[in-house]
C-alpha cells in the first residue's frame, strides 16, 4: 500500500492537478463518446421511424 | 429582418455551416501551417519565439486568403452575382455582408485559436494578449482588401496580373504592423502605436473597400 491516507492519495505528491486532470479527461472522453453514440443511435432510429410511418 | 444584406450574410453563413467541418478546417489549417515552421527551422524555443509574430501573422493571412481568392468566383459562375447586382439594395452593402460572413468564418476562429499556438511558440503571456488584439484589429483589413482583389480578378479579362500586383502589396502594411505589435510587446515595448495603426488600416479599408469592390464587380460582370 502506497498511501498513508486518502488525502495523500488525492494530493498525489503535489502533482494532483496534472495526474487527476489526465485521468479525469480520459474518463470524460470515454463517457462523452459513449453517450454521444447512444444519442446518435436513438436519433437515427427516430428518423427512420418517421420515414417508415410516412 | 428582411434587409437584403442580412439575407446575404445569412446565406453565406449557412453555406459555410452546411458543412460544419468548414470552420474546423480553417482552424486546423492555421494549426498545421504554424507547425510547419518549427519543422523547417528546428526546435529551439528562443529562435521560435523570435519568429512567432511573423509566423502567426503569415498563418492567419494564409488561412484567410486561400478561401478569399474565391470569394466571388462561385457566385459569378453560378449566376448569384448577377442577382445580387440587380437586387433593389446598394451593392456595396451586400458586398460588405459577404466580407463579414467570410471574416466570421475564417478570421474569427483564427483570432481565437492564436493564443494556443502562441503557447507552442513559447510566447510570454502579455504578448499573447497583444497577439489577439492585433489579429482582431488587423484581420478585418485583410478580408476587406482581399475582397477588392477577388472582385478584380473575376471573369476572363486578362487584366488580372496588374491587379494582383496592385492589391497584394496592400497586405504588407497590415502584416508589418501586426507582427510589429507582437514583436514590440516581446521586447518589452508598448504595442500601442502599432495597434492604432492597425485599427486605422482596418477603418480605412472598411470605408473604401466595399465601394471599390462593388465597382470592380460591376466591371467584371459586364
Amino acid at each position: 500500500m502506497q498511501w498513508a491516507s486518502w488525502s495523500a492519495f488525492f494530493n498525489m505528491g503535489g502533482y494532483a492537478l496534472y495526474v487527476w486532470v489526465s485521468f479525469g479527461l480520459t474518463l470524460l472522453c470515454v463517457v462523452w463518446e459513449v453517450l454521444a453514440l447512444r444519442k446518435r443511435s436513438a436519433q437515427a432510429l427516430r428518423l427512420s421511424r418517421l420515414l417508415a410511418q410516412e | 429582418m428582411n434587409e437584403a444584406w442580412i439575407i446575404v450574410l445569412k446565406r453565406d453563413l449557412l453555406l459555410a455551416f452546411r458543412r460544419r467541418s468548414d470552420v474546423a478546417t480553417t482552424l486546423f489549417f492555421f494549426l498545421i501551417v504554424s507547425s510547419l515552421f518549427p519543422l523547417g527551422i528546428g526546435p529551439e524555443a528562443a529562435v521560435l519565439s523570435s519568429i512567432a509574430p511573423g509566423v502567426l501573422w503569415v498563418a492567419a493571412l494564409l488561412a484567410g486568403m486561400i478561401s478569399l481568392t474565391r470569394l466571388f468566383a462561385a457566385d459569378f459562375a453560378d449566376g448569384s452575382l448577377e442577382q445580387m447586382l440587380i437586387a433593389p439594395q446598394p451593392l456595396a452593402l451586400l458586398v460588405l455582408a459577404k466580407i463579414l460572413a467570410h471574416w466570421i468564418v475564417c478570421g474569427l476562429p483564427v483570432v481565437l485559436l492564436a493564443p494556443l499556438i502562441g503557447l507552442q511558440y513559447a510566447l510570454p503571456n502579455e504578448s499573447l494578449l497583444v497577439l489577439v488584439w492585433s489579429l482582431l484589429l488587423g484581420t478585418p483589413a485583410l478580408s476587406l482588401i482581399g475582397a477588392i482583389g477577388a472582385a478584380l480578378t473575376l471573369g476572363v479579362r486578362g487584366s488580372g496580373l496588374l491587379v494582383a500586383l496592385l492589391v497584394l502589396p496592400l497586405y504588407i502594411p497590415v502584416l508589418i504592423f501586426g507582427a510589429g505589435a507582437v514583436a514590440a510587446s516581446q521586447h518589452g515595448m508598448s504595442a500601442q502605436a502599432h495597434l492604432s495603426l492597425l485599427a486605422a488600416c482596418s477603418i480605412l479599408a472598411l470605408v473604401l473597400a466595399p465601394l471599390a469592390t462593388a465597382a470592380a464587380l460591376r466591371i467584371s460582370v459586364e
Binding site: - | R18, D78, G79, E82, M84, A87, E222
Partner: protein, 205 residues
C-alpha cells in the same frame, strides 16, 4: 411601361446591334428572336442594367433606369442563362434566399407551393447540386411564382425543360400578362403564350 430608345451594343470590336427601339406596355409580351450570338442575351442584360449601352437609353415609366436603380430593380425579375443557385443549399433554401434578396417576403409554405407548382416539390430538401439539369432550371424558375414585380426578363427559360414543365411555365407567363404584367423573353422553341399584346424583336447577326 418600358421604353428603349436607339440602343446599340458593342461587344469587343463587334457591333451586335444598333438603333434598337421599342415600347412595352402593361400586359405586353415581347419575344426577342435571333440566331445564336445575335445579341439576345446582351440585349436582355442591357435592359436589366447589367450592361451599359454603347448608345441610347432604357426608360422605366419615363425615367432612365440608371437614375433610380433601386426603384427599377424592385419592379424587375431577371432569370438569365445561369440559374443563380447554390449547389450546397437545398432547393427550398435557394428559392427563399433568391426571392428575399429580390425583396419578396417568402415563408416556407409559399416557397414549397412554388416548387410544387413547377413540379419539383420532391426535390425541395435535396441540395441543388445533385439535381438534374432540368430540375435545377425549374428551381430557378420557381421564383416566378413568388415575385410580385411587373417586368419579367427571361433568357431561354424553356431550355432543358421537359414538355410538361414547358406548358406549366407558359401558363404562368400567360397569367402574368393577364394580370397586367410584362414579359421579355428569348427562346429557340415554339411555345404558345397568351398576352394582351405580343410583339417580336428580331436581331440579326
Amino acid at each position: 411601361m418600358l421604353t428603349a430608345q436607339g440602343l446599340a451594343c458593342l461587344r469587343g470590336d463587334r457591333l451586335l446591334f444598333k438603333n434598337v427601339a421599342f415600347e412595352l406596355s402593361a400586359g405586353g409580351l415581347m419575344y426577342v428572336l435571333g440566331e445564336n450570338g445575335s445579341g439576345k442575351s446582351s440585349l436582355l442584360r442591357l435592359l436589366c442594367g447589367l450592361l451599359t449601352p454603347e448608345e441610347g437609353a432604357v426608360f422605366w415609366n419615363g425615367q432612365a433606369i440608371g437614375q433610380d436603380a433601386e426603384l427599377y430593380q424592385t419592379d424587375l425579375t431577371y432569370i438569365g442563362h445561369l440559374n443563380g443557385l447554390k449547389d450546397d443549399l437545398t432547393a427550398l433554401e435557394n428559392l427563399q434566399f433568391g426571392a428575399r434578396l429580390a425583396g419578396n417576403v417568402v415563408d416556407n409554405v409559399a416557397a414549397l407551393k412554388a416548387l410544387t407548382a413547377i413540379g419539383v416539390a420532391r426535390c425541395a430538401n435535396l441540395p441543388v447540386g445533385v439535381l438534374s439539369q432540368g430540375q435545377k432550371r425549374r428551381v430557378a424558375l420557381a421564383r416566378l411564382w413568388l415575385t410580385r414585380s411587373k417586368l419579367w426578363i427571361l433568357d431561354e427559360p424553356f431550355a432543358a425543360l421537359d414538355t410538361a414543365s414547358v406548358e406549366v411555365l407558359a401558363a404562368q407567363l400567360s397569367a402574368h400578362m393577364v394580370n397586367g404584367g410584362m414579359t421579355i423573353i428569348t427562346t429557340h422553341q415554339d411555345v404558345a403564350i397568351q398576352a394582351q399584346s405580343t410583339q417580336t424583336l428580331r436581331l440579326s447577326a
